[in-house]
C-alpha cells in the first residue's frame, strides 16, 4: 500500500485543488494512467499515477485545496490486496512532508524564502493551513476573501473563535489595487525568482531560415493539412539536438548544484488567449521523426489552450524554447524558468538582405538569442551551443 501525493507541478506551486477523481475505489490503475485532475494557478492539470495496482480510496473529497506533498489517495499494489488502508512506514512513495509543515517538493524553494512577490497576497492566507493544522481555524468566506485580497495573515488571529469580516482589517493603503490573477501570480513568482537568483548572460546571432522554409514547403506540398509540419518543429528539434550535445544548458540547478538531465524535455512557451503563458515539456524532443514530434506539438498546444495538461509536462522541462512565430517582432531575450538554466528565443523571421556567395541576396532571416545561467556555463560554451542550433537549421533534412 502506498500513498499518492499531491505532486509539485513547478517551483512556484504550493497547492492544488482536487477537481476530478477519474478512477473509482477498487479500480485497477497502471503506471501512467491519469487518475485525477487538479486545478492550479496554471489551469487544470491531469495527474498520472506512478505505479501499478488498485485505487484503494480517495483521501480528500473533490474541491479540496491540498498542499504539495500531502496524500490524496491510497494505491494498493497488485500483490498486497489485503493490507489495511493506512499509510505504511515503509512507504515506497516519497515520504510526505510532516503535515505541520507542508513544503513544496522543490528543494530550491524552502518555505522560509519569500517565494511570492509582495503583490501576490493569496498564498499566506489560503487553506493549506486548514488541512495541516490540528485545530481548524474557522473563517467566514467574506473574511477569507478580504484577507486574500489584502494579504492579511489570518493565522495571526488564532483558532479560538470564528473569524468574521470585521476581524480582518481593510486594505487602507492600496484601496484601488486589484489583486493579480492567479496566472500572473504564478508567472511573477517564477520570473522574480529567476531575476533574483540566476545570473543570466545573453548571446545572440542570426539564423538563415531560407533552407528550412524550403524544406517545410516541399514536405508539406503533397500532405493533407493534419500531416503538415510547422517551422517551430524544426526549431524544437535543432535546440534539442544542441542541448543533448551541450549538457550545461539542459538540466536543473537546485540546492546550489547543477544536475544535467539525461534526456531533453523541451519546454515550449505557449501563449494563452486572454493573457498568460505556460511552457510545458515536449518529452524527449531529440528523438523520433519530425512527423511524430509535430503530432505531439499539436496535441500539446491544443490541450494547453484548452487549459488541460499533465503534471509531468509542467515539472519536467530541462530547457525552454520561446518562438515569436510569424506575427511577432524581430527578437526576444528570454528569462530562464527556474530551476532550468537556459532559454532560447527565436524572433519573427523576415526577408532581409544577407551576403551569400559574395552577393547580397534576400534571405529569410531570424534573430536567435540564448539566455543562460552563469553559475553553470560561460559565453564561450554558450556561443558553441547557439552555433550548433544555427548549424542544424541549415540541414533540415537531417533533423
Amino acid at each position: 500500500m502506498s500513498t499518492f501525493l499531491m505532486p509539485s507541478l513547478g517551483a512556484d506551486m504550493e497547492d492544488g485543488t482536487l477537481v476530478e477523481q477519474l478512477v473509482n475505489p477498487g479500480d485497477a490503475v497502471t503506471r501512467g494512467d491519469i487518475i485525477a485532475a487538479v486545478e492550479t494557478q496554471k489551469g487544470v492539470i491531469e495527474i498520472e499515477v506512478f505505479e501499478d495496482g488498485f485505487l484503494d480510496k480517495w483521501l480528500v473529497p473533490l474541491g479540496t485545496k491540498v498542499p504539495v506533498g500531502m496524500p490524496i489517495a491510497m494505491i494498493r499494489a497488485s500483490q498486497d490486496p489485503d493490507e489495511p488502508a493506512v499509510p505504511q512506514p515503509a512507504d515506497p512513495a516519497p515520504a510526505p512532508p510532516p503535515p505541520e509543515a507542508p513544503q513544496p517538493e522543490d528543494p530550491v524553494a524552502p518555505p522560509t524564502m519569500p517565494e511570492e512577490p509582495p503583490a501576490a497576497p493569496e498564498q499566506p492566507a489560503e487553506p493549506p493551513q486548514e488541512l495541516s493544522q490540528p485545530i481548524r481555524q474557522r473563517v467566514s468566506p467574506a473574511a477569507r476573501r478580504r484577507a486574500a485580497q489584502t494579504g492579511f495573515d489570518l493565522a495571526s488571529l488564532g483558532t479560538g473563535r470564528i473569524i468574521s469580516l470585521a476581524d480582518v482589517p481593510d486594505a487602507t493603503d492600496k484601496p484601488d489595487t486589484e489583486p493579480l490573477s492567479a496566472m500572473r501570480q504564478a508567472i511573477s513568482a517564477a520570473m522574480t525568482r529567476a531575476k533574483r537568483e540566476i545570473p543570466h548572460y545573453y548571446l545572440s546571432d542570426t539564423i538563415d531560415l531560407t533552407l528550412a522554409e524550403a524544406f517545410i514547403g516541399n514536405y508539406n506540398a503533397d500532405k493533407p493539412p493534419d500531416a503538415r509540419l510547422a517551422l517551430s518543429v524544426l526549431y524544437i528539434r535543432a535546440v534539442a539536438l544542441a542541448a543533448r550535445k551541450y549538457p550545461d544548458f539542459n538540466g536543473h540547478f537546485e540546492n546550489d548544484q547543477f544536475s544535467p538531465a539525461d534526456a531533453v524535455h523541451l519546454g515550449m512557451a505557449i501563449n494563452l488567449r486572454g493573457g498568460g503563458l505556460v511552457a510545458p515539456a515536449l518529452h524527449d524532443a531529440d528523438k523520433g521523426d519530425l512527423a511524430t514530434l509535430m503530432t505531439r506539438l499539436r496535441d500539446l498546444v491544443t490541450r494547453v489552450r484548452q487549459g488541460r495538461f499533465r503534471a509531468r509536462e509542467l515539472s519536467d522541462p530541462t530547457i525552454t524554447l520561446t518562438s515569436l512565430g510569424d506575427r511577432g517582432v524581430a527578437g526576444i531575450t528570454g528569462v530562464i524558468f527556474p530551476p532550468q538554466v537556459a532559454i532560447v528565443g527565436i524572433g519573427t523571421p523576415g526577408l532581409r538582405p544577407a551576403v551569400v556567395d559574395d552577393k547580397v541576396q534576400p534571405r529569410r532571416l531570424a534573430q536567435i538569442t540564448l539566455a543562460a545561467d552563469h553559475r553553470v556555463s560561460d559565453g564561450h560554451q554558450g556561443a558553441k551551443f547557439l552555433r550548433t542550433i544555427i548549424k542544424h537549421m541549415q540541414t533540415p533534412e537531417q533533423l
Binding site: 508539406n220 493534419d226 501563449n271 488567449r273 499539436r298 498546444v301
Partner: protein
Amino acid sequence: MTDDPLRDLLIRHLGRIAPDISLDDVDTGADLREEYDIDSMDFMTLITALGKELSLPMPEADYDQMRSFDDLLAYLHRQSSTQAKPT
C-alpha cells in the same frame, strides 16, 4: 445563422479557436490572423478542420488565397463548387 452554410461553417470553426472574438468586431477584408489573433498553429488547426469537413485538400500553396475572412470564404466557395463534395 445566414443562408450561406459555408459562412456559418467558417464562423463556427473560428469561434472554436478564437471564442473571444466576434465577427462583428472583425474587418473581414483584413488579415484573418491579425483580426482573430491566431498564430500559425491555430491557423493549421483551422485549415485542418475546414479541409476535413469539406473534403478539400487546402494545399499550403493556396494559403495566399486565404488571407482574410472574405478571401477564405471566397476560396471555400470556389473549391467546393469545383469539387464533387461528399460531406
